[in-house]
C-alpha cells in the first residue's frame, strides 16, 4: 500500500491537526513539539506527515507530492492553487482586513498604495471593487508601511486587532474570514478515494461534534 502524505506548517496549525488526527486514530509516535524532525510516520496505517513552510502547503498538495494538507485560508487564497478545499477545520480563526492610520480618508483622483504580504488577495479584492491600486509587497511588519509613508493602507490578517491599535491603525474594511482548511490533491482524491475518504469523514464528524458542543 502507498503512503498517504500530509503536508503541515510547523506551529499551531500542525499541533491542532495532530490533535485531530490522533482523535481519529492516526498517531505519530515520534512527534513532540520540541523535535526538529520534518517527517513523521505511522507505519501501520501508512500515513506520513511532513513539515513545510506555511505558504508552501498548497504547492505540495497541488503538485501531488502531498495527498492532503492543512493550511490557513489566507495562504490558500494567496497561492491560487488547483486543489480541493474540502473542509473548514474550525480553528485558526482570523480575518483579512484593510487597515489605515486612524482618521484616514481616501483622496479622489489618486491610486491607493497598498502594502501587503498578500499581493494576490489585495489585487483580487480591489479589482472586484473596480479600483486600481499600487501594490507594495512586503514580507513582514506591514503595519509600519503607512506610518512611514510607504503606503496609504495595508491588507493583512487581523486576529485581535491589538497590533493595529498599538500602531495607531484601524480597520476600514473587512475582506473575508479566515480559518484552517483541509485541502486535498485533486488526483489523490480520486485515485486514493477510499483511504482519503475515511480520513475526511472521520475529521468531518469530529469537527461537527466539536462545533455542536
Amino acid at each position: 500500500v502507498d503512503y498517504i502524505n500530509i503536508a503541515l506548517a510547523k506551529g499551531r496549525l500542525a499541533e491542532k491537526t495532530f490533535e485531530l488526527l490522533e482523535e481519529i486514530g492516526i498517531r505519530f509516535e515520534d512527534y513532540n513539539q520540541e523535535s526538529r524532525k520534518l517527517i513523521f510516520q505511522n507505519e501501520d496505517l501508512k500515513v506520513r506527515a511532513v513539515f513545510v513552510k506555511a505558504g508552501d502547503v498548497p504547492i505540495y498538495v497541488e503538485q501531488g507530492v502531498a495527498d492532503f494538507g492543512v493550511a490557513g485560508k489566507d495562504t490558500i487564497m494567496e497561492a491560487e492553487s488547483e486543489i480541493y478545499e474540502i473542509m473548514d477545520l474550525g480553528f485558526g480563526k482570523c480575518k483579512f482586513s484593510v487597515a489605515a492610520p486612524c482618521g484616514y480618508e481616501t483622496k479622489a483622483g489618486r491610486k491607493i498604495r497598498v502594502a501587503t504580504k498578500y499581493p494576490k488577495v489585495a489585487r483580487g479584492f480591489y479589482s472586484k471593487k473596480g479600483e486600481s491600486i499600487e501594490i507594495i509587497e512586503l514580507t513582514g511588519s506591514v503595519e509600519l508601511a503607512p506610518i512611514m509613508g510607504l503606503s496609504d493602507v495595508i491588507v493583512d490578517i487581523v486576529e485581535s486587532g491589538k497590533t493595529l491599535k498599538e500602531n495607531n491603525l484601524e480597520i476600514i474594511e473587512d475582506i473575508c474570514d479566515i480559518s484552517a482548511r483541509l485541502i486535498v490533491n485533486k488526483v489523490s482524491f480520486k485515485t486514493k478515494s477510499q483511504r482519503i475518504g475515511e480520513i475526511v469523514s472521520g475529521l468531518r464528524a469530529l469537527v461537527d461534534r466539536r462545533e455542536g458542543a
Binding site: G64, M87, D88, K190, S193
Partner: protein, 432 residues
C-alpha cells in the same frame, strides 16, 4: 558570479528542457505507439502551424487563458501566438477547409504546445500533446469512442492503475438555467463546486435568494462523484428540468458504451467536474494515474467551437500530455530499454572497403553499426562500454575477431560464417 548577472549563454530558460537520447528514445517510441493507435481507429494525422494570429485564439471561447499565451509581433505589427492548444487550430482548420465535406472528420495529432504558466510552480512551458478529435458525430457513440481511445492510450503507455473521471456539462448548465444568478454569484458557486469546498458552498447557498429545492440540488452537486451507476441514480433524484435529465441520460449511454468496450473498471463519474462550461457542451473527462498528482489527459464534447469560426460541426475529442506521462513512465520504470549499438567494426586501411561492406550488410539487416579505425583496443573497449556497444568486430585479412564487450570473450570467424551465424545467435538480436 561576481556581479550577479546571469550569463545566459550557458543556461536554458525555466520551463523548457533538453531531451537526451535515452529519454528521447522512450518518448519517440511512445509517440509512435499513440500515432499507430489513433490511425488504427481511422483518425488521420494533421498538423497546424506552430504560430498563428492572436485574434484567432482570443476571439473565441477556449480553455486557455489569454495570459497563458506566448505572444510576439510579426513584421507588420500583427500579434502572433505560439500554439497554446491543439484543438482550437484544428477546429479552425475544419471550419475553414471542410465545409463541403459530407462525412465524419476524424483527426489526430502529436504536437508541441506552449504556455507561459506565469503563476504556476514547476510546470513546463513547452510540452508535447497527443490526441484525437472527432467531428460530425453528436451521438454518445462519438464520446464513447473518444474516451475508449483515451483509455487505450494509457494502456499502450504500459500504465495499469488509472482512472478516467467523467462529468456532463449539461447537467450543471441545467441547474444554472433555474438559478438565474448574477454573474458574480454564478462564478463564485462554480468555483466552490469545482474545488469541492463544501463548507463555503453551504454558506453561500444559504444566503442566495432561491427556493429550498434549488438550494438542496446545488448543495448536492459536489457530492455526486464515484461509481457511475450509483452517482447517476442519485443525480436522477435531484433533476429539475429536461436539460438535466437529458444530460444524465447521455452520460448513462456513454457509460453503457464504455462497458461494451470492456473499460468500465477504468471509469468513474464526477458531476462536479464543471470547468470551462463556456467551452464544453456535453461529456467532459479527465484522466488520472495512481501516485501521480497531476492530470495526464483531458477532453470532452465541444459542439460550439467550429460555429465560432462560422461553420457548425459537432465535435468531441481529447488531448494527453506526453511529458506528464513520461514522468509516470519514469516513476513506474516502465519501458526501460536503453539505447545502444549492436556492432562496432574496427578496420585498418587495407581492409577498410571490406569493413564498410560488412557494415552496410549488417545495417541492411536492421542492426545498428558504428565503424572506426583499429588501434588501441583498450581504448576501444572503454569507448564501447560507455556507448553501450554490444560487440566489437575487428576485420583482418583472414576473417574477423568478435569481441563481446560484456565479458571480453573473443573468437575468430570467417566473414560469411559470421553473417550466416547471426540468425542463430542470442547475444545480439536486431530489434530495430
Amino acid at each position: 558570479v561576481g556581479d550577479g548577472v546571469l550569463d545566459v549563454r550557458y543556461f536554458i530558460p525555466e520551463g523548457v528542457d533538453d531531451i537526451h537520447y535515452d529519454e528521447y528514445e522512450i518518448k519517440e517510441n511512445l509517440i509512435s505507439k499513440m500515432k499507430s493507435l489513433y490511425k488504427s481507429y481511422g483518425y488521420r494525422q494533421v498538423l497546424t502551424p506552430t504560430f498563428e494570429y492572436y485574434d484567432m485564439f482570443s476571439s473565441i471561447e477556449g480553455t486557455i487563458s489569454r495570459d497563458e499565451m506566448f505572444k510576439f509581433i510579426d513584421g507588420s505589427g500583427k500579434i502572433l501566438v505560439l500554439r497554446p492548444d491543439a484543438t482550437v487550430p484544428i477546429a479552425r482548420m475544419v471550419a475553414s477547409n471542410y465545409r463541403k465535406n459530407n462525412g465524419y472528420l476524424k483527426f489526430c495529432y502529436v504536437t508541441n504546445v506552449f504556455r507561459t504558466c506565469n503563476s504556476k510552480n514547476g510546470y513546463k512551458k513547452e510540452f508535447i500533446q497527443a490526441g484525437a478529435e472527432y467531428f460530425g458525430n453528436k451521438t454518445p457513440e462519438g464520446d464513447g469512442e473518444i474516451i475508449a481511445l483515451a483509455v487505450e492510450s494509457l494502456k499502450k503507455f504500459g500504465i495499469k492503475d488509472f482512472k478516467i473521471d467523467i462529468g456532463q456539462a449539461g447537467f450543471f448548465k441545467g441547474i444554472l438555467r433555474e438559478l438565474n444568478l448574477a454573474e458574480e454569484f454564478e462564478n463564485q458557486v462554480k468555483k466552490l463546486i469545482e474545488n469541492k469546498n463544501f463548507a463555503e458552498l453551504n454558506n453561500v447557498i444559504a444566503d442566495l435568494n432561491i427556493t429550498d429545492e434549488l438550494k438542496n440540488t446545488l448543495f448536492k452537486i459536489p457530492y455526486l462523484y464515484g461509481e457511475p451507476e450509483n452517482v447517476i441514480e442519485e443525480a436522477m433524484e435531484i433533476v429539475l428540468n429536461n436539460e438535466m435529465e437529458k444530460a444524465l441520460n447521455n452520460l448513462k449511454k456513454v457509460y453503457e458504451i464504455l462497458k461494451d468496450y470492456g473499460f468500465e473498471k477504468y471509469v468513474s463519474v464526477d458531476l462536479g467536474l464543471i470547468n470551462h462550461l463556456d467551452y464544453y457542451t456535453g461529456i467532459v473527462f479527465k484522466g488520472y494515474v495512481s501516485n501521480h498528482g497531476k492530470e495526464v489527459l483531458s477532453g470532452g464534447r465541444y459542439d460550439n467551437l467550429t460555429k465560432q469560426y462560422g461553420y457548425y460541426m459537432p465535435a468531441t475529442g481529447f488531448g494527453l500530455n506526453i511529458d506528464e506521462l513520461m514522468e509516470v513512465v519514469n516513476m513506474y520504470e516502465i519501458n526501460n530499454n536503453s539505447v545502444g549499438t549492436d556492432f562496432l567494426i574496427l578496420y585498418s586501411e587495407e581492409n577498410r572497403q571490406e569493413a564498410f561492406s560488412l557494415a552496410y550488410e549488417l545495417r541492411d539487416k536492421g542492426y545498428i553499426v558504428e565503424c572506426d579505425t583499429s588501434g588501441d583496443i583498450v581504448r576501444h573497449i572503454k569507448n564501447a562500454e560507455s556507448r553501450n556497444v554490444k560487440e566489437i568486430l575487428r576485420v583482418a585479412d583472414n576473417g574477423i575477431s568478435v569481441i563481446n564487450v560484456g565479458d571480453n570473450g573473443t573468437f575468430k570467424m570467417r566473414t560469411n560464417q559470421f553473417l550466416s551465424s547471426l540468425n542463430d545467435r542470442e547475444v545480439v538480436v536486431p530489434i530495430h
